[in-house]
Symmetry: C2
Subunit: 208 residues, 2 copies
């Protein structure tokens, strides 16, 4: 029973996220979610106190999945090379490949979606989105710092800003991908950022 | 009278854009816009048929202002140098400076906002957003092609993707700036993109 309840909760969150990313949070109704997830209203309220509670759990789940996804890719990259620059370049390549394998255009980023309806959310949600994005900055910056310790930059830039550029490129290319209804944009842009890193840190293959 | 009508129409659009970028289009009510613009309901409907009509005019105005802003900056850059690479680097510097001078965090991009509520809009609006973003691609790509004709790239990349990277960086850093509630992100990221171009096209100052 506990497992089935957990499945049902997960199903609600999955359906809700899909609808929210298509039409925005404020116009997503609990009735639509119930219909999509094939549950009763009672089933919904067994798991969530209401829309505000749903918003928070959606975001927490999204950030957790994102963290897992990034950690998983970095683990793979780290297993393929000992060099911090190559690890980062591999991470970006693996990330781009994963985005190419998506069945369609990227469904959208929940953090960006919430931000474009920021007046709908309380301070707790705003704090969580900022915390989530900050954890991406820290994750990327820590990797970049390891690179910078070994490779001098051709032009000195801030590592925090360089880390934020990856977040910006991801968020921005999701928007571009949605507007153009083409899937390739996110992978392409991750590889542009990768080229930037290769040039900035003088990737060895460029010196030959 | 005609001039006053035009002023009032502009005021409605300005107030509406501000509200839409804060809370999303779907939950923005005509009553709120009327209150904010200090006009009557009749005054609103004299200028717009309804919310759908308002959505289209908001977008058209936004895209026109953006085009004007870009053209204005390129004109300034072109007056300062004859070299296509320097013109682009100047454009990015002037753009970054303009973003630093904003009174607060960037208010948001209407194209991105609409995209995160895409189910709320008809095909005409979707066509307009795609056209608008396509015009940015063309504008940037044409500039990059002029650079590439004179400067060999250190790593060969697609000029279309390089042009889309500027759009991605702009859209993405607006999201990051909103999430972190800090104004500096957009300017910082424009300068990161600028550094990428300098490295990619071997800016002369790097050769010394």
């Amino acid at each position: 029973m506990a497992a089935r309840g957990e499945d049902r909760r997960e199903k609600i969150l999955e359906v809700a996220q899909c609808i929210v990313l298509q039409k925005g949070f404020s116009t997503t109704s609990i009735d639509e979610i119930i219909d999509g997830a094939h549950i009763t209203k009672g089933g919904f309220f067994y798991h969530f106190k209401g829309k505000g509670d749903l918003a928070r759990h959606l975001l927490e789940r999204y950030l957790q999945q994102d963290e897992q996804f990034f950690n998983n890719l970095f683990e793979k990259a780290d297993a393929l090379s000992e060099d911090p620059l190559q690890q980062m370049l591999l991470f970006l390549k693996l990330y781009a490949q994963a985005m190419e394998d998506l069945p369609g255009a990227h469904p959208g980023c929940l953090v960006a979606a919430y931000t474009y309806e920021s007046q709908q959310f309380d301070d707790e949600i705003k704090r969580l989105t900022a915390e989530g994005m900050l954890s991406w900055r820290e994750l990327f910056e820590e990797r970049l710092a390891r690179i910078a310790a070994r490779y001098p930059m051709r032009i000195e830039v801030s590592l925090t800003e360089l880390a934020d550029m990856l977040t910006s490129v991801i968020e921005g290319s999701i928007v571009v991908s949605r507007v153009f209804s083409t899937q390739a944009v996110l992978a392409e842009q991750l590889l542009q950022y990768r080229t930037y890193l290769r040039l900035l840190f003088n990737d060895a293959s460029l010196l030959s």
